[in-house]
Structure formats: C-alpha cells, structure tokens
Symmetry: C2
Subunit: 194 residues, 2 copies
C-alpha cells in the first residue's frame, strides 16, 4: 500500500522489487541507487534509511534472487525423469532466464556474501538440494562415498555451463541444437546419468 504520504510505509521491500525489475529491463550496468530511488518515487537519499550502502541493497536483492532460485530448482525436479537432471536444468535455466539477477547473485564486487548468509537461508538450502540429490538419487554415476565432493562437482559443472552460455562462449547453435536449453539437457544427461 504505497500512499502519497511522506512516509512510504514499505520502502525497503519495494526498493528490492524495483531493483529486480530494473535489473531485468535494463541490465546490471544500468542498476544505480539513484535510478532505483527515482523509479520507486522517492528521493535519491531515501534508500540510506534502510540500507547502509549500495552493496547492502544489492545483497537484499541477491537474497530475493536466491529465494526464487531455490523455487526454480524445486520445480525443475517435479516433471523430470531424473532428480539430478531436473536440478541441473533448473540451475542453468534460472541463469538463462534471469541473466542479470543471476550475475548479481554471484558477484562478489556488488554483493556482500556474508550479509546474504546472515540474513537468509535461501542459499544454503539451495545447496542442500544438490547435496541431497547426490545422496539419494541412484542414477548418479559417481558413487556415494563422498557426496560433498559429488555435489561440489555438480555445482561447478552447472555453474560453469550457465556462466559460459551467458558469456556466449557456449551456444546451442554451435552444436546444431535448436536452443541452449536442449544442449544443456543433452550434456547433463550424457555426463550425469548412467
């Protein structure tokens, strides 16, 4: 309920949402504190009542990002034949569908990871999804002696894939796939499933 009162009533939450909107519509580079403030209809210095820094606001944005990220991965596992494939597809597809947000979430220059972890469990629960997957799913070919190793391996793989596709260093078209998505699926199925 944002009224035209002097006090906004809900600023900190709305700043985060506006930031995400700006992020998707105009990209990471265009995301300035002043733009976010203006778009929210508030003065340039207003955010400083809620966030000590630009980095603090960005961290809040990252937290919301991790929340959506976890959701996406959970949904990925639903209609999928293999749990692991669903997770991996969820991971990469989130990155491809929310490129700027994903970049922000893993950008140490813009986000204070300690702050993120102190104020949210979204990141660690996302990781727990991976860890559980490699513990439970019998389709993973790497054995069960060291599940932490396997999850780290999996994580690095999908993270690198996402990053390289976003950087256009890997493209589905280069391998005669109709989309990046189908390339990713083929890759995951080849290397993760027996």
């Amino acid at each position: 309920m944002p009224n035209k009162t002097y006090h906004h009533g809900n600023l900190s939450a709305e700043l985060v949402l506006q930031a995400i909107q700006l992020l998707e519509s105009e990209g990471l580079e265009a995301l300035s504190l002043r733009r976010v403030a203006k778009e929210t209809g508030v003065s340039q210095a207003a955010p400083y009542s809620h966030f000590k820094d630009k980095k603090a606001l960005m961290s809040a944005v990252a937290i919301e990002g991790y929340r959506r990220f976890e959701l996406k991965m959970r949904k990925g596992t639903e209609r999928e034949s293999h749990y692991i494939i669903g997770l991996g597809m969820g991971y990469v597809m989130f990155a491809l569908e929310n490129p700027a947000l994903f970049s922000l979430m893993f950008s140490g220059e813009r986000v204070n990871f300690t702050e993120v972890d102190n104020n949210s469990h979204a990141f660690s629960t996302s990781y727990a999804l991976l860890l559980n997957a490699v513990k439970e799913d019998p389709l993973v070919q790497f054995g069960k002696e060291k599940p932490e190793f396997d999850s780290m391996f999996l994580w690095s793989l999908v993270h690198g894939l996402a990053k390289l596709i976003l950087a256009k260093r890997i493209q589905g078209a280069d391998f005669a796939y109709e989309s990046d998505e189908s390339l990713v699926r083929a890759l995951l199925e080849k290397y993760l499933v027996v």
Copy 2:
C-alpha cells in the same frame, strides 16, 4: 621508451600494462579510465586517442590476459602426470592467482568479446588446448565419440570451480585441505582420470 615529450610514443601498450597492474593491486572496482591515465602520467582524455571506449581498453586488457592464460595452461601440462589434469590446474590456478584479471576476461559487461576475438587468437587457441587434450589423452573417461562435448564439459567444470572458489562459495579448508589448490587437484583427479 616513454620520454617526457608531449607525445608519449607507446601509450596504448602502456595503458594496458598499467591497467593490469591496477587490476591486481586494487581490484576490478577501482579500475577507472581516469586512474589508468593518471598512473600512466597522462591526461584523463588521452586514452581516447587509442581506444574509442573504456570497453575497448578493457578488451585489450582481456586479450593480454588470454595470452598469459594460455601460457599458464601450457606450463601446467609440463610437469604433470596427466595432460588433462595439468590443463585443468592451469585454468583454475590462473584464476586464483589473477582473480581480477580473470573476472574481467569473462565479464560481458566490461569486455566486448567480438572485439577480443577479432584482434587475437589467444582465446581460441586456449580452447583448442582443451579440445586436443580430450582427443589425445587416453586417460579421460568419457570416450572419444564427441570430443567437442567432452571439452565443453571439462571447460564448464573448471570454469565453475574457479568462479565458485573466487566467490568463496567453495573453500579447501571446508574439506580439510591445506589449500584450495589441493582441493582442486583432488577433485580433478577423481572425476577426470580413470
């Protein structure tokens, strides 16, 4: 031979070197055109005689980065029992030893990849190293039917590993290793060598 003449004589090359120096000493965020110019002892607008943009200078920096990157990976293969392991270690260790430069090299916001590829073969030859490795080295466990797939897989893995270690999302200490390097080695040996 940079004299105190009005004309510098070697500006474009020296700007690139100064940029790399600033990158390593003060990080990605501190790397401004004006800082680079000042450090080189030249006016703020001088770089515009050699680069049309900040992005153009950054692309030149990235090219030099890829050149060193390739060298590092080649050296990695020398004293190593397995070619693939050497390459992978070279990849990740370059990232850990030159964090800011590595970030820049893969940052689509700061670097124009098309410009990089048009003015240098360093990137593609780096990739060719990987491709050759998976073609030749019999120790890779993924078969030889689709080497392009295997190299993409390998690339994503090491890239993700590097990124996540830089973001402190993966740390050797978490697994009781004395360094990130030994964790990476253990991981690569487990998943890449039969």
